[in-house]
């Protein structure tokens, strides 16, 4: 056997910083509204993200109604359609997924899992949420502004994003979008610095980096990436705002709009694309890495087995994080950039498949010879692997430059990224909510509703996005409100589109059941106790459930082992908590 959990168990290094006194709230307002407790902030982040996510869900229904039954709904004009897809995409990627994984799960889990009383900078953490909320409100305001929200596509490519041929281009839509993104990035940076510093400086005694649960590794690495990637988007947004409002030409070449010479000149539209994707590709992994981490812990806990190849899992997360900064231009193979870039970016992109594949192997090898409890979190974890493998493999089509040429800008791309960074991470979010809800509320989520939610979501989402690849393979471009009569597209594609729409409506409905369950179980859910899943990580070892302000009792826990001591030979229980010193020597796979 090789050394998995570094350092001998009885050598517990001291925590790196002495404990500091927490801010103690004095009123209801400072306890629940302007709270500095990471757990309250986490719930605020999650609630806001899910609320705006509901808007995105409704928008997806509207766009699917148009695609499935073109011409039936008079209010879905091409302008409205473009506004729906743009806002759907932007909300899902930034305001839901990024905010929920980092602001929601990050805030709740990092301090608890590393054994800290709170984030290192609680006041800045509170500000982070309120600026995020402001960003969301500005985004929502664009729905009510003259001209409505921007319809430039979530990629916001200039020149069209700020011209009159695009909804919101010459109205308030694009301005509010850019301002909202700028605010989001400011707010995120405040939270992100907190997550990173808390992981590096706030760990309790004995919690070495190589004993961190993979959830923390995933969120930590994603946050570091976000702190490095978002500035590129920030710069791009500021410059485009200047182009739109002040008439500068950062991204605007000389051009003629509807027969009229505009005063722009000398700018580069493709520069925006580089900046956008320098952020945009890491963003995929900013969403994926927390999901990778969380799902590792779900699988290990519910299969009652140590995660297979922990060290490799950590290095794969770090390698993917690093590599994702040198692959961005695979979104631009047909953008007209220098063709030699294709060789470089195709190679780096396909190399990323190797650490990603290792993660998949290690998940399924964790199942091998496990004691698999088919709980709802486990079901979601299994569904994640299916959809992630599917979506990851179609990435090998799109990453391989020449194969991308016929497929780019078609529905194949839409199907691919929804499977890999929509469905897959969201399945993990659901699994994680079913898993940690008992800790957050003290009650279990209802099992029957959970089963219904799982089956409809998994099978339904697969039925939406798997056939959609073939719509793209036929040649249907993305971002078309309707295909119209086109010789090379058989009529049967319209039937397939109608089928996909019906599946999308059903899957959307199942989410209402989930939301209802969240509220219903708050009152009527079965009492969970402190550690219903018999899990090893520190958040399950708190003296109170839900954990009080300060997380742990008088003494911070001391960590003696890694997070994956399940079914250790010779141990009495089928798990050993990270702060369990007992039978330690026998447990170590020295």
């Amino acid at each position: 056997m090789v050394d998995i959990t570094p350092g001998p168990v009885d050598a517990v290094p001291p925590a790196e910083v002495p404990e500091v006194e927490l801010y103690h709230p004095h009123s209801w307002w400072t306890k629940y509204v302007f709270s500095q407790d990471a757990k309250v902030i986490a719930i605020q982040y999650s609630g806001t993200a899910m609320a705006i996510g509901l808007v995105a869900l409704v928008l997806s229904w509207l766009m699917r109604l148009q695609l499935g039954f073109p011409g039936t709904f008079d209010f879905i004009t091409p302008e409205a359609y473009y506004q729906f897809i743009t806002m759907h995409g932007m909300i899902m990627v930034i305001y839901l997924l990024t905010a929920l994984f980092l602001g929601g799960f990050g805030n709740y889990l990092i301090p608890l899992m590393v054994g800290a009383r709170d984030m290192v900078f609680p006041y800045v953490n509170m500000l982070s949420y309120w600026i995020y909320l402001l960003a969301v409100l500005v985004l929502v305001a664009s729905f009510f502004a003259p001209g409505g929200p921007t319809g430039a596509g979530w990629t916001l490519y200039p020149p069209q994003a700020i011209l009159s041929g695009t909804p919101g281009g010459q109205d308030w839509g694009i301005i509010l979008m850019l301002v909202s993104l700028i605010l989001f990035i400011i707010g995120f940076t405040m939270g992100g610095l907190n997550y990173v510093v808390t992981v590096l400086q706030g760990r309790t005694r004995g919690m070495t980096l190589m004993r961190l649960p993979l959830t923390v590794w995933g969120i930590f690495t994603a946050t570091v990436m976000a702190l490095l990637a978002f500035p590129a988007l920030f710069v791009a947004c500021v410059m485009m705002l200047f182009d739109r409002v002040l008439g500068t030409s950062f991204f605007m070449p000389a051009l003629v709009e509807m027969g009229e010479q505009l005063s722009y000149g000398g700018g580069s539209p493709i520069l925006f694309q580089h900046l956008f994707w320098f952020f945009g590709h890491p963003e995929v992994y900013i969403v994926a890495l927390p999901a990778f981490g969380i799902v590792s812990d779900l699988i290990s806990t519910h299969a009652r087995k140590n995660i297979f190849g922990y060290r490799m899992m950590v290095w794969a997360i770090v390698a993917i994080g690093a590599l994702s900064f040198v692959v961005w231009a695979h979104h631009m193979y047909v953008s007209g950039m220098h063709p030699y870039f294709g060789f470089f970016f195709a190679t780096t992109t396909l190399i990323i498949a190797i650490p990603t594949a290792i993660k998949v192997y290690n998940w399924v090898l964790t199942l091998w010879r496990g004691d698999i409890h088919l709980t709802i979190p486990m079901l979601f974890a299994l569904a994640f692997i299916v959809t992630f493998v599917n979506g990851g493999l179609t990435g090998l089509f799109l990453g391989n430059v020449v194969v991308d040429v016929p497929l780019s800008d078609t529905m194949f791309v839409v199907a691919h990224f929804h499977m890999v960074m929509g469905v897959a991470p969201i399945l993990v979010i659901f699994g994680a909510i079913y898993h940690w809800y008992p800790k957050i509320t003290g009650r279990m989520l209802n099992e029957v509703m959970g089963q219904f939610h799982f089956w409809v979501t998994f099978v339904g989402a697969y039925a939406i996005f798997f056939p959609m690849h073939y719509v793209g393979l036929v040649g249907v471009p993305r971002r078309y409100p309707e295909i119209g009569d086109t010789a090379f597209i058989p009529d049967s594609v319209h039937d397939l589109n109608a089928f996909i729409t019906i599946a999308a409506l059903i899957v959307g409905f199942a989410q209402m059941v989930f939301l209802f369950n969240l509220f219903w179980s708050l009152k009527f859910g079965r009492e969970a106790g402190g550690n219903p899943w018999r899990a090893t990580t520190l958040e399950w070892q708190t003296s109170e459930t839900p954990p009080a302000h300060g997380n742990f009792g008088k003494e911070l826990p001391v960590v003696y082992r890694w997070a994956y001591d399940y079914n250790v030979p010779g141990a009495n229980e089928d798990f050993l908590a990270q702060n369990d010193p007992g039978a330690a020597k026998a447990a170590q796979p020295a």
Binding site: P159, T166, F308, G309, Y361, W368, G370, N390, V405, V568
Partner: protein, 286 residues
Amino acid sequence: MAIALVLVLVVVGSIAFHVLSPWWWTPIASNWSYIDHTLIITFWITGAVFAAVVLFMAYCVWRFRHREGNKAHYEPVNKRLEGWLTVVTAIGVAAMLVPGLFVWHRFITVPADATEVEVIAQQWQWNFRLPGTDGRLGTSDNRLVSFENPLGINPDDPNGQDDIVVEAADLHLPVDKPVKMLLRSIDVLHDFYVPEFRAKMDMIPGSVTYFWLTPTRTGTFEVLCAELCGTGHNFMRGFVMVDSEEDYAVWLGEQQTFAQLTEALQTSRADSDALGTTTAQGDAEN
């Protein structure tokens, strides 16, 4: 055990859908069947991996499901296995990447005998320009775009005078002759996309992008815009007719050059100016 069964059904269903469904690419009409082949290789490799991983999962879920008294095996790592899997994965990735890069090299290497055809996109129509008898296109600039000169062709460039201008009409190409499509936009991003050609490329205002192809069969093929260009994006259609040598020559003979069009416009403007003057006089008299 429903989940193990569903996992198997996902694999079987996906493969059945792939094989049996009527939705597949439209028959190719260019030399880029290399791209189709690379795509097929990718389908095989990724399909095999997908089936293997999901079926293995289904087996594990069934075989190692929780039963009273079960204990999981404690095995934190197996470096040998991880090493093997990494190597096999790397080989699979290389098997897709190497042919991919080989074909990409062809894709970006324009043959010397390719004739140039310029596509000029605007919201929301396609225009085309072909070199005249000198075989060279004149220079162009968006700053020169005006009502009389909608494509921004430089009137002072002698190479441009005999250029053939096809405004908001169909493009014809001769079959089996390599062409280099030069792509230009006068307003926003567009993308010249003919599904049967497999190749596509964005057009960027202020730059000239390109790709090349050899049409391999005659016929009428629809041009779509594949880069979001505003509310008319999906109505931005056109046609490319791939003709036999003779048909192409006939079509070419019917087209007008830049010089002819400019002259015609100047004549008609002179006419309308004259008409305008008369009307103004008439107004003054009233």
